[in-house]
Structure formats: C-alpha cells, structure tokens
Symmetry: C2
Subunit: 297 residues, 2 copies
Amino acid sequence: MDAADLRIFESVARLGGMSRAASELNTVQSNVTTRVRHLEEELATPLFQRHSRGVTLTAAGRRLLPYASAVARLLDDARRAAVDDGTPKGLLTLGSLETTAALRLSPLLADYAAAHPAVDLVLRTGTTGELIEAVLGHRVEGAFVCGPVEHPELDHEVLFREQLVVATAPQVRGLGDLADQPELKVVVLRAGCSYRQRLEEILTRRGIVGLRRLEFGTIDSIVGCVAAGLGVTLLPRGVVTPAARDGRVVLHDLAPEEARADTLFIRRKDGFVSSALNAFLALARRTYGQELAAAAE
Amino acid sequence: MDAADLRIFESVARLGGMSRAASELNTVQSNVTTRVRHLEEELATPLFQRHSRGVTLTAAGRRLLPYASAVARLLDDARRAAVDDGTPKGLLTLGSLETTAALRLSPLLADYAAAHPAVDLVLRTGTTGELIEAVLGHRVEGAFVCGPVEHPELDHEVLFREQLVVATAPQVRGLGDLADQPELKVVVLRAGCSYRQRLEEILTRRGIVGLRRLEFGTIDSIVGCVAAGLGVTLLPRGVVTPAARDGRVVLHDLAPEEARADTLFIRRKDGFVSSALNAFLALARRTYGQELAAAAE
DNA sequence: TAAAATCGATCACTTTGAATGATAGCGGAG
DNA sequence: CTCCGCTATCATTCAAAGTGATCGATTTTA
C-alpha cells in the first residue's frame, strides 16, 4: 500500500469527489480515478460509492480514512526526526492564551529568537478550548493554556503560576461595592475564555449575579473599558500592574485558592518533539523555574 | 517520502549492507543503492556511512529507523482495518502460558474455531516475560499471561482467576513434610516461568530453601515427575485435578492470598484490534465471566 | 604476495506504471 | 429535453524504477 495513494484517497474522501480532489492535488481526474481503483483492487474492497454528484465513502472507506491521515503524519514526523540533528531549526508553531503571550511569552520569545535564529516561530492565540483542539488537530506543536487539563492524548506540565486579581475602576473600594452597580459588565477577552467563568464564579460567591458580558479583542481595550467604569475583569496580576500603577484601575486581591491559576504547556503524547520545541521549553523552564518553585512553597 | 523507500532503508539498516538487503528484497544491488540515495537526497542528509564491509547508520539514520518500522506497521494496520468488515476472518495469532492453554483455552478454541471457520488461529506458548516481549514486538496480537503486568504500552484485562495448589507425591502429608526431604526438586515448566518464583517464595516462607530445579517441556511430564516423588510443583488447581483424582499426586491448599493468580490478557494500546480478536475476547468473557464474578465476591 | 571474494558506485538499457488529454456515458437540475 | 457536472475508459507520453554488467576499493584466503 502506497502512502501517495492514501494521500489521494484522503483528498477524495474529504472533498467528496474525484474531480475536486484532482484539482486540489494539481493532477487530472483520470489519474485520481486510476489511483483510487488501484487502492481498491489492492484491498479487494470498494472504498467509495460512485454516483453522479461525486463519491461517498463505503464502510471500508470510513475505516481506512483515519489511517490515511495517520500515515501522512507519521511520514512527516519521520522526516523531521531524521533532519533534526539537535540544533533547533525549522518551523515551530505554538499556541497560547492572549494573556500568557502578553505577560510571559514576549520576553521568552525575544530571547529564543536571538538564541536560535534558524527557527521560524509562529504563535497563535485562542481560548483554552480552542488551543486544546489545535493541539489535538496537529495545527500547533503545543500550547500554553489555563489548567487544569486532563486528556488521554495530552501531556501537560505546569510552567507558570499566575495570581489572578479582579480589576475595577479606581472609585470601587472593594468587591462588595460591585453589588450596588447593577450596570456593571463582566469584561473578558473572548467567548469561551477560561477567566470569564472563573470571574462569574467569584462574583456569584459574593452574591453578585446576572451581570452582562462584554468581549474585546485585546487586553488594552479591556483595561481601558474597566478604567472607564464600564465593567470589571479578572486577569493575571502582571498583566494589569502597569494600569494599576498609573491609577487607571484598582486591583482587588482574592483568597489564594481563588487567585491561583496554573498555566500549563500541553502537547500530544505521541508524535515527534522537535529540538526547536525542546529548546523552547528548556528556556521557559530556566526562565520561570525559580519563580515556580517559590510559588510552590 | 515513500513507504517503499523506507522499507528498503529498514532492510539495509538491519542487514548492514546494500547487497544483503537487495537479496532479501529480491531485487538488485544497484536498485537498492539508488533508492537509498534517493531517500538521502530527499532528506538532504546522509543516512549511512559507506565502507568496504557494508554500511553503518549515521545519527540521522538512527533517528529515522524506528519510523521506518512504525510506518510499515501502520500501513499494515490500515489494510487490516479496511478489509475487516466486522466478520472475524484472517489470521489471529495469540500467545499463552502453557498452563492457561491447557486449562482454559482448549475448550475456548474449539468453540471459537467452530463459530468462526474463516479465522486461522495460531497459538504460541511461552513464559510471561517472553509473551510480553512478543506482544510488544508485534509477533502476537495479544497474550494470556500471569499477572500483574504494568506497562505503559500495554492494556490488560483479568480474564481468569486461578487457584494455585502445590502438588506432591501421594505420601507427602503436608507442606511441612517437605523440609525432611532435601532431595526434592522444584519442578517447573520452563526457565522464567512465573510459577517457579512463586513456588520458591512459598517454600521459603516455610523454611524450605535451596531446592534444585527441574524443567520439563509439558505439563504431563511435570505431573509424572511429581507423582514419582522426584519433586514438588505449583500449578493451577484445574490442571492437576485429574492426576489428584487418580491418586497419583496430592494437592496442598494454600492461603487464599498465596493461591490466587490472575491470568491477564494483554495487548498493545495502540494499533488495530481485529474483529477476530474482538470475537475471541467476547467468547472468553462470556465463557468465564460468571466464574470470574463469583471469584471476585 | 597474489588471487579471490565482497561490497558499493556507476552507467546504459529495459520495463513498469504514473500522468495526461480526449471522449463517452450517466444522472440530476433547470 | 437539453445542459451541466461527474466518473469511467483509453491511447499516448514520459518519468522513474528496476536490471545487468562493469569498475575500483578493500578484505580475506591461499
């Protein structure tokens, strides 16, 4: 069984047609037909039902499909493992929460880029849920997310320990005051953000319920919105420290168990770990390891 | 990267030479040379050091080698998954302890062969250690071994619960008598047998140490040897019940915690589970499930 | 020390089969 | 009922996989 045939098979299955697959694969339809038939003859099993609108997977085809992508991935890993001589190089695609990127990763990335100029770094941001999906779907090699995460296919490691604080407009004395301002909104970065649920739990525990939500695309816009008295937010302390020093917002400490948020690095258990990723993790551990040990005490 | 190239690469690496690989692969040496070079050019990395006695893997080659076999296995799994329509058929290769085969598997296998005539069954016997290696090395799809087994790449399931008994010649009244017979030998099936270590522990706990060992190839020969007064053995009760009923040996019960031995079925966590294997396990669970539930109470 | 054996690289040649482009046939949509 | 999009088929082209012979280098054997 040829890996090239499987690649064609995967494309046909995904696009639901041989002609469509042919144009995607930059070849001609007759060739796709021949290769698919070749695969079917080799397995002595039809993989597609042909009809006038295209093709549909048979039961055998459905069973084969996951292997087609698995083989492609394994071959890709094989190539990378052979080429990877321990010197970080090539493409390194990581995912991260917006807040982690701002607070933790920017200094790291600068150091890393300086130390390993042969690496092309790509950073994608998203919510914890999106990032987990991205890791599982092989779209990123690993990601920084908000813990806890337990998944049978994922390895995880605590890399940073954040102290979350509630940020409000300066005139708010304490969290108790919030109950008097029913106009307030919960200001968060994106739908599905881990901190949103966290903040709503914290407020609920203090008898504040039913607040509206406001979503923004950047941390700066959130801080601005909070400073203007429109709402309340929950963020790692380091992210809002500058705004607090300027007096634009005030920070309200939480009990340690409410405030603690672990930032995990997650990656797939299987698959190849590039030297580029290894070097990045080593740098992250070296940079933040002491702080983590201190926080653990 | 082509799977066929990887197959040739693997053969060259294993045999340490292109000519040797060529004859194994039923092709000519020049072709092997060309394909290897093709692979090296594709990866832009030398995979072998050439010298007059053959070739040796480079570091890159060593990194690539495990992927070569992984790809071959995955392609094989893919074929089997596509062809397997839920009806057990094809080749089913299992491993088992000798005692388990005799006591448990023979009735199962008869039923199974009758129910699924399209399956070609192969049963290999060995010690627990050998069987674990066989499962890990993809030489058998799964195996019945003596528990406990904990391995990150293996799934296990308790299928039978054996009651072990010590068997001796009829004139021996109790285990205490054995201390008076320093000539006695520990009679076991094979080197590395799980029950051997177990029996020696049991005897040691009763102050009987330093017994010589005797190994035999079949259970019948062990029983015969014990009946003749040459030695003492430890086996599942069911295996020696007929000989005990005939008065050839006597059985000495052990405390429940000493007597209990779980027979596990182990298989790799990854990889494809054929319908033939699924059907076999279903039959085994159905046949022995009640007994197991009763033993668990 | 010379001859024989073994091994990999190279090259001209053959053969396989992948890819192409054109055409035919099928079935649903307008 | 005709057009449109799809797949099947086929003759043709062409790249590359495979073959067999030869060379040079090195080791083993006599």
